[in-house]
């Protein structure tokens, strides 16, 4: 999980740096804003062969000082290796994120762990999304509102998570599924009223590696 995030961060970082350099070097001439829209001219790099071939890693050789009869100095972008995007990884991540977005929390009645009609409907949609990423592990967390006792709620939360698990497996998902329960220890809403309680009586589906 960490290594995936680390890699993508590196990739984005490098891409950003290249973009900034391109803007800094060429923006004044190459981007033309018009009243009818924005035309972006492709950056032209006018690199003529240099008189002296002493361009090092900094892209221009040592400074020559001012002169009343200056010679041509070749200027070019410093070399910058760019890590090529791992398209398979990007696709996997996008698929994961897209699937995670489809996984809505499902809600339960007071004191109950049976799935509601609405809950089954949501899980059916979730199953479709899960089938797109069947190699990704799924964690189902069960949660409760504050009106049950602390220890019984831990068990009730697990019962809710397991009901969701059983229903999803019945719909043919092939993901590896694990369940856990936080009882009422991790509420999403903390007011002491039903407007809040129902949001806490939930099963939350998380794909491994998704945020």
């Amino acid at each position: 999980m960490l290594s995936v995030e680390g890699k993508s961060f590196y990739w984005i970082g490098v891409a950003g740096l290249v973009g900034m350099l391109a803007m800094g070097g060429c923006s004044k001439k190459s981007v033309v804003a018009t009243t009818s829209g924005t035309e972006v001219a492709p950056p032209k790099v006018e690199a003529k062969p240099a008189a002296k071939a002493d361009t090092g890693p900094s892209g221009g050789g040592p400074l020559g000082g001012f002169s009343k009869s200056p010679k041509d100095e070749a200027v070019k972008s410093p070399p910058m290796m760019v890590a090529k995007a791992d398209q398979a990884e990007i696709d996997a991540r996008r698929a994961l994120e897209a699937a995670q977005k489809q996984l809505a929390d499902i809600y339960f009645a007071y004191d109950k762990w049976a799935l509601t009609t609405e809950g089954k409907k949501n899980l059916t949609q979730s199953a479709d999304a899960l089938k797109q990423v069947s190699n990704v592990k799924l964690l189902i967390e069960g949660h409760c509102d504050e009106r049950g006792s602390r220890e019984y709620n831990l068990v009730l939360g697990e019962k809710r998570a397991k009901e969701a698990e059983r229903f999803l497996l019945g719909l043919g998902i092939r993901n590896t599924v694990s369940v856990t329960s936080y009882g009422k220890e991790r509420p999403v809403c903390s007011e002491h009223e039903e407007a809040c309680y129902w949001k806490n009586r939930r099963a939350h589906l998380i794909l491994e590696g998704a945020k």
């Binding site: 004191d111 964690l139 504050e146 009106r147 049950g148 006792s149 602390r150 220890e151 019984y152 831990l154 068990v155 009730l156 697990e158 019962k159 856990t180 329960s181 936080y182 220890e185 991790r186 002491h192």
Partner: protein, 437 residues
């Protein structure tokens, strides 16, 4: 008002019962303050001589509060009697005589003085009826343990008159919110000296004391993993996993022997009650049912276990022998309501406290006798009350409640009097576990 004719009679009665308890080695005999069958011992506490400046630690006030809380003593209001003695010296004969004549035959005075870096607290127990000193105690320690000295002296008094250990030296472990996490803390039984003992920045829950007070068993979550039962050694600071089975591992309760724990695991697919030796090696399954069985609590003899089960459709309290046999319900839906959980067996054996639900669906504390013959609601009001835990003397219950807005630790006497708030910080406090003295 004291109605005993003299200390001789009162003390004799207590001494006889105390001698019986000690010699028989039994813990079945105890003073039940709720029945009113035993009168409290009238006691006069003269002001201590204070040769130390003690901010927030006045031993006199600590001692008086301990004696009142013990429910064993009736503490004289000397100011009301117009007796102004002590403070600068031991109380004079005239003050002792006036207090004694007014019925306060048990008399106590003391002094707190510096000795080098240390503080020295001396206490004297005096019997006015016999006109003689019964004995003295002298405690030496750092000035920041003066409260502990006063607690210890209070327990000496309780022990002298009843043969019981007292509760003033006991501590309460509890759970406190820190950021997004919940950590374990330990405080004195009166709410002073809170100390944080875990620093996980995640979830720690449900502490249970070993009988020797050296270890806390508790439930710990680590990100993405199943909750495990760990043990923290408060002397060495060492921490180890006792139960790390697949599934939820929750609600540890240390056996009175200190050799094993009862707990709940869902490793078999649903919640079942198990026992494990303290090494975490030998497991024994005690329940076997498709419904949830959880939250075991030992009887003080170690022969029985009460637990919660929803095998009848709603969570109710059940009893079984400690080997899993003789399983039978203790609470019933039609008689005790549809939601009864989180049993805690009194160390005296005569009551089981549990979380019940009133007709407004608020969680309350109830108590029931182990034979099911007596039961009643212990707490009232419009807040959720939870997590009962008994004092060693079986006369108080610590619990958590949000009755003043945020969740805090409270204690209440088993007769419903003496409600006292123990935590008053800026965060949420929960899950109290009361140690032995």
């Amino acid at each position: 008002m004291p109605s005993l004719s003299g200390l001789g009679l009162a003390a004799a009665g207590f001494v006889i019962s105390a001698a019986f308890v000690v010699s028989s080695g039994a813990v079945e005999v105890f003073i039940d303050a709720t029945r009113g069958s035993i009168q409290k011992i009238p006691i006069a506490i003269f002001p201590f001589q204070e040769g130390l400046s003690l901010i927030g630690q006045a031993p006199l006030e600590v001692l008086k509060a301990d004696l009142r809380r013990s429910l064993l003593f009736d503490v004289a209001d000397l100011e009301k009697l117009g007796i102004k003695a002590g403070g600068s010296s031991a109380p004079d004969d005239e003050s002792r005589r006036r207090a004694g004549e007014a019925g306060w035959a048990v008399q106590v005075w003391g002094a707190i003085q510096p000795r080098g870096e240390d503080a020295v607290m001396e206490g004297t127990l005096y019997d006015y009826t016999r006109k003689e000193e019964v004995g003295n105690k002298r405690y030496v320690g750092s000035p920041d343990v003066v409260r502990q000295m006063a607690h210890r002296f209070a327990d000496e008094l309780a022990f002298h008159f009843t043969g019981e250990q007292g509760i003033a030296r006991s501590r309460i472990a509890y759970v406190s919110e820190k950021g997004r996490g919940k950590e374990l803390f330990v405080m004195d039984y009166d709410g002073y000296n809170p100390r944080q003992v875990t620093f996980d920045e995640f979830l720690n829950l449900a502490p249970s004391w070993s009988p020797d007070k050296q270890h806390l068993a508790f439930v710990t979550y680590r990100a993405g993993k199943d909750p495990e039962i760990h043990e923290l050694d408060l002397v060495t600071g060492r921490r180890r996993a006792i139960v790390a089975l697949p599934g939820l591992n929750i609600t540890p309760d240390w056996a009175p022997s200190g050799d094993e724990l009862a707990f709940t695991t869902t490793k078999d697919g649903n919640a079942e009650v198990y026992k494990v030796d303290k090494a975490g090696k030998r497991f024994e399954r005690l329940t076997n049912h498709w419904a949830a069985d959880l939250a075991p609590t030992w009887s003080p003899t170690g022969r029985e276990i009460a637990f919660t089960s929803d095998r009848g459709g709603t969570p109710q309290i059940y009893l079984m022998s400690a080997d899993g046999t003789n399983l039978h319900p203790l609470t019933y839906k039609d008689r005790h309501g549809t939601y009864n959980t989180a049993a805690a067996w009194s160390p005296k054996g005569n009551w089981i406290a549990y979380v019940c639900r009133d007709d407004r669906r608020m969680l309350k504390l109830c108590v029931i006798s182990p034979d099911g013959q007596q039961s009643r609601q212990l707490t009232t009001g419009s807040s959720n009350d939870e997590s009962p835990s008994w004092s060693a003397d079986g006369r108080h219950v610590a619990f958590s409640s949000a009755r003043n807005g945020k969740r805090d630790i409270y204690m209440i006497n088993v007769d419903g009097t003496g409600l006292e708030r123990l935590t008053a910080n800026a965060t949420f406090n929960d899950d109290p576990a009361w140690s032995l003295p």
